[in-house]
Symmetry: C2
Subunit: 199 residues, 2 copies
Amino acid sequence: MSHPTGPDHSRRKERSRQAIFAATRALVAEQPYSEVTVGAIAARAGVGKQTIYRRWPSKSAVVFAALLALSENPDGQSLTLPDTGDLAADLKLVMRATAEEFADPSFDRLIRALNTEITHDPALAAEYHTRLAQPLEEAKRARLRSAQEAGQLGAEADLDLALDVLYAPLFQRWLHRSGPLDAAYTDSLVDAMLRAFSP
Amino acid sequence: MSHPTGPDHSRRKERSRQAIFAATRALVAEQPYSEVTVGAIAARAGVGKQTIYRRWPSKSAVVFAALLALSENPDGQSLTLPDTGDLAADLKLVMRATAEEFADPSFDRLIRALNTEITHDPALAAEYHTRLAQPLEEAKRARLRSAQEAGQLGAEADLDLALDVLYAPLFQRWLHRSGPLDAAYTDSLVDAMLRAFSP
């Protein structure tokens, strides 16, 4: 007989968690965000509504957790950016991948829905900032700090500002659909940031 | 007896137009965007619903026109940015004013509502781009071009990219409420752009 906190229980719990996230992402990709309900997510995942509400207080919280799960490392380690010593090459690689992710229709739908929510909900904006934006920013900042220590960025460079200059134009182009999310654009942002913040 | 296209008619038409815009801005500032209706705008402005529908096809179109009217010059001339010859000073002045505008609660509500709409509505996104973003960008680009011709920006500088580097971080900070919309921030953006795109 398996104990409720034993390995079988943990595996079942993880399976239901993954099923809930997959159902959430599928539903958000299929319908307008306002029409997605916790009941529909539960039905699609094959779990009871209470299984969801025991872990997440609201629809926004599950959607948000489903998005966070996408950037989880399988080994549970914290996020790090490549560091080959070539700052320009490392940043271009990462930003090309980010642009591709944004250009993917199912990710686009999920992140667009979340953006609408956080525009109007300061509490969710704060949670987004703490749980998703901040860990990502910390990983990017760590890469810039390593470059700064190697003398590839100015000793006085404001690394937060450098991150804004790198990522905000990409985000805005995606949000406003004002231009292609391609490697030419992300490469040019890396080059501009390096010109602005190199020693 | 005044002719229907005569000066009295024009004045009445302009008065009702201004009343409709004022009503629209007031209602959008007071309630969630989804609850604002063309009927409520008409009632507040003291005109019939048909007066609105004759000129604008939808709620989004009136809201959008009300926003556009905010940046109209009284003399009907096209938008231009200050050009004293000192690029850094001119841009800092303009960007400080933009940050103040974004920080104003009633403007904030209007532009936040519009942003939600354009996130989900590609047609409105295109209209926003053509009618509001593009004329503003053209005015900013003209100022950068004048600086480029004066040798203050590199001959090869990509002026569109320079504009993205200047404005996207400010926009993102406003949208995500991720930091203060103050002069220190806008000044630092101008300085970063100048370092990236100076000869």
